[in-house]
Structure formats: structure tokens, C-alpha cells
């Protein structure tokens, strides 16, 4: 039984069947990639996992608990963090403040004024933030305003913001979209480093096969809203159905 | 724009007493040094005395405020012996000599009430605290008048109200330091009623549209009382929000209500729009209960008449003063005002002019600027020659009693200035009431003690 279980999930938008009967199981401590041609329903699936969309049918459970009907912030508290296609960071704040916010959020996410919190607590939080910035190699940029960072650095920062929460599952939505090859390789290295240094499960949605085959331990191929195949990278590489799906796309 | 060569050159603020670090506590600030020595707020020093003219300069009543300001400037000129002397020539009291007040040259400061009670108090305070004004004059709404009157009472200066028509100003909100020359809603009702009976008969059915705030309510109350006393029936009284611009949804119910008279207890922009809307619906050409439909606007002003244009033809209302009044004071005032500004004065201009002269005269007669002395001189003062004919400043509530004009929109005006014609001059006896009249706060309404400030 995987850490994330998706069973029979379907979602319609008006007349369009975006997802139809998706079954997926992500095993703990693996890197699981979800690939597929444009319009295959990858993003819709991801949005169903984080509570932005509610599927019409099926169930999604995380560590045995259903995530359906919960709000994004509640799902996050269960231990799921998300990295967006375009890095979503607090552009007006400094890098350090960006990382401090998830620290304050902690696991319970309860509302606190945090205005006169005990000093000990604050020292702890700052230390934690410092460590994670060090981990993603951003420590010297800690006082920069986040919006002024390069694309690659914004991605690093976003990762740091997710990681500082020590999530059990990290969802990555095309983490290298729009990046130059060098930045892409850096990101791959970063993800490998992350995977190597902690117990974490990753689910990656990706277009770039280079990224997928560098990282993934298992791959699910989506086409027209349904899973086509699920297998190891080696087996996926030469799979005829996969070729067909992608070729079909290029011919259209 | 007009200006006055003599005053503008001479207008320099009096120097404060020189001397280092002299500190003294007072309750109300202003020219404290003299306060400590004379026993009242802002006692004039040196050779000048400062009056504060607080009128709306922005907002919908800005034009009315501008007119009041012109009249006040004219009054200052006359007090200082400039120009043709105006009503100093006709005023029954001969205390004023045209040499300022008590020998001190009169100068003035101005403020903008914005027709908001908050802003009006702020500008009055500024004139009292910063400029050392000894009295505040003017304004064009009852809310402002009551608010500023309260302030002047606390500050210890005299308040001479401008245009304020609600009963409350000299009713439940009367103050020892406040004085009103303008007439009020009760007087409008009392003056209009006999004319209405004469023109329309005594078995009319009236429908009231009333601006939904304090002045509107007292106006409606007064008119309803005096018309019902005639035998009229009140079909309905409907409150309209002050912010209304289109009154069609209030006018249409009148059509089939069985009423044959529409009373518009509105003022300013409300009145211009509600009357225009009523005319659009052809109310005046209707026949109801076998009678011609009529519209009544209890409180008229020249600016409203100008705004409503031809729609006022044949519509009855009341006024405090009209330049067409034929008496010595009025003729003199119209001549002075008209020659200087090229137009006849409005009724709010006349009130403000008269108030300045009355204040100055009271100072002369009292021999002091002390508000308590001035108030005493004004209380029970009978005078003539300021345009309204014989007038009494009643001691009990500081309300002026004089004849009230009933006017009607002229059918064939010859110029922009005679769009209203005087129908009747209701003698003062008919609009008299007891100081403890229930519409004026009853027996509980008290002036309180005169407050000189320091």
C-alpha cells in the first residue's frame, strides 16, 4: 500500500472528460513521475490531490486518510507540499522571511498572532530557516527580495519553503519548465540531493524526459485522462503504447 | 470679483504681546494674554477686532455660501465707514458710527463649513483658536448651525446663525451664546396656512414628501399641524433619503393617492430635483377631487428657484426676506448690495448682513465685546431698518420675530431676479409662539448660562 492512493478518480469540465478513472499508487520513499502529452490531465490530477479541485468520482487517500473535501491548507498540514510550475514565492519579502513563514506555519497551522512569541521558539525557527537555506545553497542570498532572484534561485527558494515543513510527500509540477539546460541540470542535482538527504516521497509531473529518466523510480503515463501504463523507467522507454501516445500527439 | 482698497491694505494681524516666556493656563485658547486680563475669550487687542465668517465654500451649497460671504464683506465695509454706509443709514439703533466697533477697525477671517457639522466645527475652531475671532457668523444648514452653536457656547464666543430653518436651532438646541435672525419651520407653517386656505380652500388633501433628516421632520411637523388646523387632511407623509437624486418613485404614488396638494419638505438640490420631477409628471395640470392640483414648497430660496427654472411657476412657498420688499431698510440694502455686486441680495445674504450689523450694534450698546454683555444687549432688542421691518430678538430663545413672506413662482418674470413674487406679508403676530412650545423642546429647553470663555 502506497503513501498516496488514488482510486477511480474522474473529473469533468462541462462536456470535457478531463480525468476518467485514474488509479495510482505512490510508494513511500520513491520518486514517482507522471508523464503524458499535453491535455492528458496531469495538472487536473495534481489539482485534485492538493484540494484545489474536487474530483467528481473516486477517492484520494494519503497515509490512509482521505484528502477529498479538505482545503489546500489542511491538506498541506497532512504532510503534502507542492512546488508550482512557475515558482510561487512571496515576491515582496526577503528570502529569509520567505522561509520563515512555513516555519511559523508548523504542522498544525493554527492561527497565532506570533507577535510576542517566546524568544526560545524564535531562535529555533530562525536556526531551522538558516539550515534549510544552507541546504539549498541560498544562504548568502538570504536578505535579497525574493522577486529579484533568478528563475533558478526562485525554484530553489520554493523548494526550501516546502522542505522546511518536512513534508512526507512533495508534489512537483514541471519543476524545470522554461529553464535553460544548465538550470535544469542544477535542479536535477538539487532534487537528487534532497532525495538523498531525507526520507521523502516525490511525485513529479514532467514534460522533459531527461528530467524524468534522471530521477524517477517509477513512471505513470497518462493519456486522455486515463493511465496508460505504469512501470519502471527502463520498461517505459521502449513501451509501444507510450510511443503511440506521444507520436499521436506530434502527428495531430 | 470685488475688492476693497482700504481694507486690504490695512489688514494686518495685530501683534501679540511681546515678552518672553509668559505662560498662563486658560480653558479655551486664542489670544490668551488678553483673555487673562479681560475675562473673556479672544478679547480684541490693539486697534482691530476680528469676526469669523463660517460659510459653505465647497459642496452643493457653495453658491449660497459665496452670497453670504459677499453680504458679510459688505457689512464689514459699512461698519468701517466705507462704501455708502448701507443699512447704517436706516437702522433704528444709531449706536454704530461707521468707525468700526467700539472704535476698533473690523477685519474678518473666513472658513469653509463644507455643510458638514464636523468640518464646520473644525473651521470655527480654527478661526477662534488661531485667528482670535470674537464671533462666528453664517452657515447654510441647521445641522451645521446647531453644531457650531454648541461649539461657540463651549468656547465663549457669540454665534450669529446664518441660514438655519429647523425649529431646533432656537428650540431644544438653543444656547445662551447663539442667536438666530432667520425664521423657522414653525413660522413657515403659520405664515403659509392662511394663504393656502385663501388660495386653495380649506378641504384639501395633502401628500408630503419629506427629506429624511432632522430639518425635514420639523418642517413636516409644522406644516402638517398648521394645515390640519385649517381643516386639511394629510393623506400621507413619505420620507425620502437625503442622497436621493431621482424622485420619480416617490412622485408616482402621489398620482393615485387621492391627494390634491403635494408638499415638498425639501431644501437645496433635493427640492430642485423633486419639484422638477413632479412637474415632469404633469401634476400641476391634473384635476383631483374636482380641484386643480397644487404644489407647495414651504422653504424657498433664490438659488433653488434659479435651479428649478420654469418649474417653480405658480408654486407657493415662504421666505425670510426678498429683495422686492418695499421698506426703507430693504431698499437701502438692495441698493448697496446691487451697486457693489451687480445683483440683488438673496435672503440668506440679507440674514448674514443683518446679523453682522446686529452684533456690532449690540457691542456698541453694551460697551464691550464680552459675549455676556453682547448677549444681554441683544436679548429683547427691538429694531427696524435692516430690511425685514419691525423685528424683535426674543430674550427667552434668541429667536428673531418679524413678518414672514409668502412667495410664489412668477408666471412672467422680466429678469433672472424676479422669478419669485411676494404674495403676502404675514404679520409677525400670526407666526408668534410661546418659548416653551412643544415643537421647540417644551419647558425643558433652556438657554443655559452665557459663557464668556475665560
Amino acid at each position: 500500500m502506497g503513501i498516496l492512493e488514488v482510486k477511480g478518480v474522474g473529473k469533468r469540465f462541462g462536456g470535457l472528460q478531463a480525468l476518467g478513472n485514474v488509479n495510482l499508487s505512490v510508494a513511500e520513499n520513491t520518486v514517482h513521475a507522471i508523464i503524458g502529452p499535453n491535455g492528458a490531465g496531469k495538472s487536473t490530477l495534481l489539482n485534485c490531490l492538493v484540494g484545489k479541485l474536487i474530483p467528481d468520482t473516486g477517492s484520494v487517500t494519503f497515509q490512509g486518510e482521505s484528502v477529498l473535501g479538505r482545503k489546500p491548507h489542511e491538506i498541506n498540514q497532512m504532510g503534502i507540499s507542492r512546488v508550482f510550475q512557475t515558482p510561487e514565492i512571496f515576491g515582496d519579502l526577503t528570502v529569509f522571511e520567505n522561509v520563515m513563514i512555513p516555519c511559523f506555519a508548523k504542522r498544525d497551522g493554527a492561527f497565532r498572532m506570533h507577535a510576542y512569541e517566546s524568544v526560545k521558539d524564535e531562535v529555533e525557527i530562525r536556526e531551522k530557516a538558516r539550515l534549510i537555506l544552507d541546504d539549498v545553497n541560498m544562504l548568502e542570498k538570504r536578505d535579497m527580495i525574493a522577486a529579484s532572484l533568478s528563475r533558478g534561485d526562485k525554484r530553489r527558494l520554493e523548494m526550501a519553503m516546502c522542505l522546511v515543513q518536512e513534508p512526507k510527500l512533495l508534489l512537483l509540477d514541471e519543476p524545470t519548465a522554461g529553464m535553460a539546460r544548465a538550470d535544469t541540470n542544477n535542479t536535477i542535482d538539487l532534487l537528487k540531493h534532497i532525495k538523498a538527504t531525507r526520507d521523502i516521497t516525490m511525485a513529479i509531473i514532467e514534460h522533459d524526459m531527461h528530467v524524468v529518466f534522471s530521477l524517477a523510480e517509477r513512471i505513470t503515463v497518462l493519456a486522455q485522462g486515463t493511465p496508460l501504463v505504469e512501470d519502471t523507467p527502463e520498461n517505459i522507454k521502449g513501451h509501444p503504447k507510450v510511443k503511440e501516445a506521444y507520436l499521436g500527439e506530434t502527428q495531430a | 470679483m470685488s475688492k476693497n482698497i482700504l481694507t486690504r491694505r490695512g489688514l494686518m494681524r495685530t501683534g501679540a504681546a511681546a515678552g518672553a516666556g509668559l505662560a498662563m493656563p486658560t480653558i479655551f485658547t486664542g489670544q490668551v494674554w488678553s483673555a487673562a486680563h479681560s475675562g473673556y475669550t479672544n478679547a480684541p487687542q490693539g486697534s482691530t477686532v476680528t469676526l469669523g465668517f463660517n460659510v459653505p465654500q465647497t459642496g452643493p451649497y457653495a453658491d449660497e455660501g459665496a452670497d453670504e460671504l459677499l453680504a458679510q464683506q459688505l457689512a464689514v465695509e459699512h461698519l468701517n465707514g466705507e462704501g455708502d454706509g448701507g443699512c447704517l443709514n436706516t437702522f433704528s439703533s444709531k449706536a454704530l458710527k461707521g468707525n468700526g466697533i467700539l472704535g476698533k477697525k473690523v477685519q474678518y477671517v473666513t472658513g469653509d463649513t463644507q455643510t458638514k457639522s464636523d468640518a464646520a466645527r473644525a473651521s470655527a475652531k480654527s478661526m477662534i483658536e488661531k485667528d482670535g475671532a470674537i464671533m462666528i457668523n453664517g452657515g447654510s444648514s441647521s445641522g451645521v448651525a446647531v453644531a457650531v452653536q454648541g461649539l461657540c457656547q463651549e468656547a465663549g464666543v457669540i454665534f450669529m446663525a446664518g441660514l438655519t430653518h429647523a425649529n431646533d436651532t432656537t428650540g431644544k438646541d438653543r444656547k445662551a451664546n447663539g442667536f438666530r435672525h432667520f425664521f423657522n419651520a414653525y413660522m413657515s407653517g403659520a405664515a403659509l396656512a392662511p394663504v393656502l386656505a385663501k388660495e386653495m380652500g380649506s378641504d384639501r388633501r395633502a401628500y408630503h414628501l419629506t427629506a429624511d433628516y432632522n430639518w425635514g421632520w420639523t418642517q413636516e411637523e409644522s406644516i402638517v399641524a398648521s394645515t390640519e388646523a385649517l381643516g386639511w387632511e394629510t393623506v400621507n407623509t413619505v420620507k425620502t433619503p437625503l442622497a436621493s437624486t431621482d424622485f420619480s418613485s416617490y412622485i408616482t404614488p402621489v398620482l393615485n393617492s387621492g391627494a390634491d396638494v403635494l408638499v415638498l419638505n425639501h431644501y437645496g438640490g433635493n427640492m430642485v430635483n423633486s419639484l422638477s420631477n413632479a412637474i415632469q409628471f404633469d401634476l400641476l395640470s391634473k384635476q383631483v377631487n374636482g380641484k386643480d392640483f397644487k404644489i407647495v414648497v414651504p422653504l424657498y430660496s433664490e438659488l433653488m428657484a434659479a435651479g428649478a427654472g420654469e418649474n417653480i411657476k405658480g408654486v407657493l412657498g415662504s421666505m425670510n426676506y426678498n429683495w422686492q420688499l418695499d421698506n426703507e431698510g430693504s431698499k437701502q440694502f438692495v441698493k448697496s448690495f446691487g451697486e457693489k455686486y451687480g445683483k440683488p441680495p438673496s435672503n440668506s445674504a440679507q440674514t448674514c448682513y443683518a446679523q453682522v450689523l446686529l452684533y456690532a450694534d449690540a457691542c456698541e450698546r453694551a460697551g464691550t465685546f464680552n459675549p455676556c454683555g453682547v448677549a444681554e444687549a441683544l436679548e429683547g432688542f427691538e429694531f427696524d431698518g435692516l430690511g425685514n421691518g419691525k423685528t424683535l430678538y426674543r430674550a427667552e430663545d434668541h429667536q428673531c420675530f418679524k413678518d414672514v413672506l409668502v412667495v410664489r413662482g412668477a408666471e412672467n418674470p422680466t429678469s433672472a431676479y424676479d422669478t419669485l413674487e411676494i404674495v403676502e406679508i404675514t404679520p409677525v403676530d400670526q407666526v408668534m409662539y410661546a418659548p416653551d412650545h412643544p415643537m421647540f423642546g417644551g419647558a425643558e429647553a433652556k438657554l443655559g448660562e452665557c459663557n464668556p470663555g475665560a
Binding site: - | 429624511d212 420620507k239 437624486t245 431621482d246 416617490y250 430642485v272 420631477n277 428649478a308 438692495v334
Partner: protein, 343 residues
């Protein structure tokens, strides 16, 4: 029943003004993404186009009439308008009488020009600025415009009546089978309603059936994409601003016989028109029109005696109450699109 029909008519009539103003506001917001607080001022300037034309047509020369005296007892100076002198009293007075309808022709070029100048001179520089800045600068502009008008025309309302032939009211009741004198409605208000329908229809038709309109609609949906197609969307948007200004201006011109215009009439309508736009849904043209008429009708019914006796003061707050209820039940107004103005 007659009272009901009358209030529906009142509502449609009020709604016409709301819908026209909201339509222009939405055009500007939808195409340019600018929150224009000066839109009420455009309405007011339109109204003063009528005042201006009336004054121009009434320009007079003075002759002294010795037989009459003015208020000071001097011989009276009689004003004779030039048009009366040129065209004779009959035609001349008729021209002055018809100054409001004539002002429509006059106002269109003036308002388009004002719109152009506003967009090119000021608004253009604010496309990329936060909405708060747009609100502030257009609010400042609104104050400046109305103070300029006040400087020249004073604060008092100025009567600008409808032509005599169109004054008075029509007895609709007799036509549809009611007693005489039960349902009468002023001609000019009916004209205003018809006029607003024509303008609304014209704007929708223009957007629907012209290529220009199609590009603009595409631009409203997705500005960047249309820009990428190599279409100079900016110039079209400038013209759109001119059209929106003209719509507001015409609404103002036609409104003058209903209520005499004054310098702050724009501010009186400003808050209300924003409420209308938001209730309709930011950026939705049909929404703006629908909400305009809806709120007009609700306002009319709320001011009836039975409504105010059931709920005292309901006529004061109905518009706001409806706005709150609509926004809480339909998050983006009646017909709003997702994601517009929510950041």
C-alpha cells in the same frame, strides 16, 4: 396594479442611467483593466455639454429698454439672443428650446476627444500600476474636473429643460386599458429609456458584428494573446476609451432634462455605478446592464410606502443590501468571470 406598473417604469428609467454609466465603466475596465473613478466626472461633463450648448445658443446682446427698470431702478438692459436676432423669434427660440437634443450631436465629438486625451495623457501610464494607484489618480482627476466645472458654472443646479414639445407626460393607462390619469409617464423619461436601449444595443452590436469589436472582445478575454497576433491592440483600446467616454457623456446629456445638472452629479453616481458594476460582475457587459436595471427596479420598489412601513429605512440601504447579498451568494457578481480583480 397601476402603482406596480408605475414603479416598474420608474425602475427601468433609473436603471437606464445606471446601466449606461456601468456599461462605460465596464468597457474601460474590461478592455484596459483600469478602475476609472473619473467615470462619473465624464457623465457630468456630458451633462455640461448640454449646459454649454444652451449657453452658447442663448448668447445675447444687450439693448436698453427705457420703459422698464431693473432692480436698482436703472433702465433695464434687455438680453436678446443672437440666434433670435438672426433667425427671427420663432426659429431662434425653437433652436434654444431644442438645445438638449442638439447637444447630443455636439457631445459625441467632445466626449470622444476628452476620452482620447484622458487615455493618452494619463490613463495609458497606469496600465501596469496597481489598482489602488489607478483609483487614486482617477479620483484626483475627478475632483479636478468637477472643480473646474464649478469654477465656471457655480455649484447651483442649472435648469436645462427638455424641448417644450417633449415636456409633459403621456397617459399610458388609457392605451393599455386603465382609467385615465392612473398611469401617466413623462415623455422625456420614456425617451431616455429608449435612448439607453439604443445605445446599449449599439455598443453590443458594435462589439459583436464588427471586426474591430471582435478584436476588442478577444482583447478583453486575453490581452496578451491578441497582442502576440501582431494586432495593435493599444490603439483600438484608446478608441474604446473614447467610446466609453461618449456613452457616459450621452447618458449625461440626456439626463439633464430629468434633473438639472450640477457639478457634483458625477460623484453622486460614482459609488452607485461601482456597486452596479460589481453586482453585475466585474468585466461583464451584459452583467452591468442587467444589474443596472435590476437595481433600478429594486430601488423603486423599496421606496414605496409599503416597503418602508415594513422595513423602515429600507429605501436608504436597499442598493447596498442587495450588493452584499449578491456578493455573498454569487462570489463574482451576477455574470462575472473568474479571477478578475480578485488579487
Amino acid at each position: 396594479m397601476d402603482a406596480f406598473i408605475l414603479q416598474i417604469l420608474n425602475g427601468l428609467d433609473k436603471g437606464s442611467a445606471y446601466a449606461l454609466i456601468a456599461l462605460g465603466l465596464t468597457l474601460i475596465f474590461g478592455t484596459l483593466g483600469v478602475v476609472n473613478f473619473a467615470h462619473g466626472a465624464l457623465f457630468m461633463i456630458g451633462a455640461f455639454c448640454a449646459v454649454f450648448l444652451q449657453r452658447i445658443l442663448s448668447l445675447s446682446f444687450l439693448t436698453v429698454d427705457e420703459t422698464r427698470t431693473d432692480f436698482l431702478g436703472n433702465p433695464m438692459k434687455v438680453e436678446t439672443p443672437y440666434v433670435v436676432d438672426w433667425f427671427g423669434p420663432e426659429l431662434g427660440n425653437a433652436i434654444i428650446d431644442w438645445s438638449v437634443p442638439l447637444a447630443i450631436l455636439f457631445a459625441i465629438p467632445v466626449m470622444v476627444f476628452v476620452g482620447f486625451v484622458m487615455e493618452r495623457g494619463l490613463i495609458k501610464h497606469f496600465y501596469k500600476r496597481p489598482h489602488a494607484d489607478q483609483i487614486l489618480v482617477t479620483f484626483g482627476l475627478a475632483i479636478v474636473l468637477q472643480e473646474i466645472i464649478k469654477y465656471f458654472y457655480g455649484a447651483n443646479p442649472i435648469p436645462t429643460p427638455a424641448p417644450r414639445a417633449l415636456a409633459g407626460a403621456f397617459d399610458i393607462g388609457t392605451v393599455i386599458g386603465f382609467d385615465a390619469n392612473t398611469i401617466i409617464y413623462p415623455y422625456w423619461r420614456m425617451i431616455y429609456f429608449a435612448f439607453s436601449l439604443i445605445i446599449i444595443g449599439g455598443v453590443f452590436g458594435f462589439l459583436r458584428y464588427t471586426t474591430f469589436g471582435m478584436v476588442v472582445r478577444a482583447g478583453m478575454a486575453d490581452r496578451e494573446t491578441v497582442g502576440m497576433l501582431g494586432i495593435d491592440i493599444d490603439r483600438r483600446f484608446t478608441l474604446m476609451f473614447g467610446i466609453a467616454a461618449a456613452v457616459a457623456g450621452l447618458a449625461g446629456v440626456m439626463y439633464t432634462p430629468i434633473n438639472p445638472p450640477n457639478y457634483h452629479m458625477g460623484m453622486d453616481f460614482l459609488v452607485l455605478s461601482f456597486v452596479v458594476v460589481v453586482v453585475g460582475g466585474m468585466g461583464s457587459l451584459p452583467g452591468a446592464v442587467l444589474a443596472g436595471f435590476l437595481l433600478g427596479i429594486l430601488e423603486s420598489f423599496a421606496s414605496t410606502s409599503w416597503a418602508t412601513s415594513a422595513l423602515p429605512g429600507i429605501n436608504q440601504i436597499i442598493i447596498y443590501l442587495v450588493a452584499i447579498i449578491v456578493l455573498l451568494t454569487r462570489p463574482r457578481g451576477l455574470m462575472g468571470r473568474k479571477g478578475v480583480m480578485e488579487e
